[in-house]
Amino acid sequence: MGRQVTGAIPDTSVFDLRLSLRGKRLNRLCAALCSPAERDAFKRDEEACMSRFGLTDEEKALIRNRDFKGLIEAGTNIYYLLKIGSVTGNGLYQMGAQMRGETYQQFLATRKISDAR
């Protein structure tokens, strides 16, 4: 059958092994947020939590700045990003609006039935 992923797709990141390996620290931190105790620890002291998971200075800055587009580019998988979104009060659609370069309201206006959330 040959290769399944054959070329870059505009405005899209394809989460492959290279990207996954790059995002290893970030994804491990996010995975830990599936535990209520870890969510509390993150909310109490975000900096300590980031240090404990060995994030680089660049990775820490992405979380501090709630830079969701940057976090995806740094290898955070979207389903892991949802967990950091949740613990920082940013739902999927807020993060999506930021990734599109729009305000939340602008993004909602592009949807057919924006009450379905």
Binding site: M1, L17, G96
Partner: protein
Amino acid sequence: MGKIVGGIGLSHVPSVGPVVDRHRTQEAAWKPLFDAYVPVREWLAKLKPDVAIVVYNDHAADFSFDKYPTFALGVADRYPIGDEGFGTRPLPEVKGDLDLSIHLSESLIYEHEFDLTLCQEIAVEHGFLVPMNLCFPHMKDAWPVRAIPLQVNVVQHPLPTARRCWRLGQALRAAVEAYPADARVVVMGTGGMSHQLQGKRFGFMNEKFDQWFMDRLEAAPEELATITHQKIMEEAGAEAVELIMWLTMRGAARGKRVDRHYYAPMTTGMGLVTFEG
């Protein structure tokens, strides 16, 4: 003897979970989705399935990239409700079917040479639970059917090919039919239709592709199984690769199409198609 009595292709959108839990299913924005399942539930009540095999993907609730299986089968008599980062939903734990899981493991590995990862513990989350909510509403302490999770890597490329998923479905059918005890089995192939949740293309959908996919799934699934991940991602968004799991369902459920529905209010094409066994 084991028998595949039906197959269901459907989307597992996470926002549906809280809508069920907070009794919002009759709100105008959600009613079209839930209404579509009324005939499906009636059909299922007639089919009287004992077990649902749920082909789904975990969303970083219980599986991690440290060790990430391509195909993972639950081999347990119960599956607890997972916490995927937003708290644990108030749902009863899911009762498994250990005997059938062991039979499927042996049949798929020895007879059909699918080298599955076998999991004695899986905490299930929205990929599994939303389809269960839609098709098999739970009682206070239990679900109306036993269920077996079959988790597929549709997240970290390289993913299994669509054709491999189709062939797994064919093998699943043969394995169920070789089960010596009586078991009426429904196979559910879950996953969002067109959707992309990251990058500047966030929110991309393509209803034309989704309708075409459901057409081909019904009329020519073996041909549809030659579709590449590239084509799905280009035409339907990066996260739409979940659709390869629908082919596992169709490989197992080879009968006539029964119901079909499509609703795409926000960021994911929510498709629904049912087949006789």
